[in-house]
Point group: none
Chain length 253, copies 2
């Protein structure tokens, strides 16, 4: 088994259980614990895992449970700004996809007042949020709920997307690189995102600056596939210039 393959496998296990134990992984992959430690050190460097004593937990920006109060207030300004900017791209009556994630959740909150929307999402929190306070028609993708994240994955979701077409898709991404484009540690999530991109007229990438210069294992899309990028001011200007030169409408909020 190739090292990259093994790391991919580790990430899969992480995605599945949202945590792993080194000893268990070492036995399963038939390598020494030392090797797994080295792998995890690498994955942590890439921001894809968060090491703990005895193992690692999934890095999702919130690697630990935070009280609701502070969860609400962490980066709320940034996300609210991204949400408001995203709203400008949406017209009444639009059909849109909201990818799973905290930034897209902020978008959901920002578009509650827009009339007559149809929203497709695989994030249960987004679905409930819009269900409670907006008049949008919300379609939730079905499938296996990913532990700890409240998002669905699976072939059912893929099938559903095969039969629809939407005006606009708001995509979240955990890893963005100028050469590699958008990548994702999980094969299933990557496939779902690919499908989302396929069925949308317009692709909007929404992401904060921490996701740049990172590479994960599965390719989702090239940067040129993106129509609009909305991000915060933490990205360095050379990168922004490079992205703009690809013809992407890049908005810093």
């Amino acid at each position: 088994m190739l090292p990259a393959e093994r790391r991919n496998h580790i990430l899969k296990m992480l995605n599945k259980n949202s945590k792993i134990e080194i000893e268990v992984v070492a036995v399963e992959l038939n390598v020494s614990p030392m090797t797994i430690r080295r792998d995890l050190a690498l994955l942590e460097e890439q921001g894809l895992a968060y090491r703990t004593h005895g193992g690692a937990v999934l890095y999702n920006g919130l690697h630990r449970e935070v009280p609701y109060k502070s969860k609400e207030t962490t980066n709320i300004d940034e996300k609210e700004r991204i949400g408001r900017e995203a709203r400008k791209l949406i017209k009444e009556g639009y059909t849109l996809i909201l990818d799973a994630g905290t930034t897209t959740l902020a978008i959901a909150r920002a578009i509650k007042e827009v009339k007559n929307l149809t929203v497709i999402t695989n994030d249960l929190k987004i679905a409930l949020e819009l269900n409670d306070d907006s008049d949008a028609n919300v379609y939730c993708l079905g499938g296996l709920v990913q532990k700890g994240l409240g998002i669905t994955l699976g072939s059912e979701a893929q099938d559903f997307l095969s039969n629809i077409r939407v005006d606009i898709c708001f995509l979240a991404a955990p890893a963005i690189d100028l050469d590699w484009g958008i990548t994702n540690p999980s094969m299933e999530k990557a496939n779902l995102k690919k499908k989302m991109i396929k069925v949308a007229d317009q692709i909007i990438l929404v992401t904060d600056h921490t996701k740049f210069y990172k590479k994960a294992f599965v390719h989702v899309a090239d940067l040129k596939d993106i129509d609009v990028l909305i991000t915060d001011s933490g990205v360095d200007s050379k990168t922004i210039e490079a992205i703009r030169s690809l013809g992407i409408d890049t908005r810093i909020v």
Copy 2:
């Protein structure tokens, strides 16, 4: 269990109850109180908890804002009791369907500790509830989200159910009548419930007394299709007798 995992768990308990007792946590997590103290010292250092004698409270002292409005205001005690009774019917490793509803949500809360379950539901709140605090595999049915209810309906859900088989199905019902059986005001919901009944080995009807002697529009099932009925003591004994005479294991909690 990893130390980091345990601390996460402690924070979850804190979020839920806004206060915890060391002794209780120690027993629940199966470690010594000393360990919990150390964990709390750590969490306090990070500003996530505030230690008190015998336990800890949320740092800001405020009660957690319930993230999703729950209409679960009526008959809470009855529902909790029904949930506990329902748990007795479930064994480790079971596959089950939880119909949408507040009573079934109570069941979800009651079965969090049962290991190795696979749960299928069309209620987003149930999916999120189990996703957060249990190790169950949760499948959420996809489709159009019913405004204000947070439940999904549609052909996708029907298709999904066509391909599975479960050990046990917990069915909620808004209207029960001795002659008409179980009825429902919505054609789509009724069809979904019919499908659920079809794919389950055992059907458990869970409902509080307020749903009796009511008739709705669409027929879902006859009472004789039910294996077990769990309800509260508000149903009059003649009705209970009549139901028991149909061979239904009727449990009053």
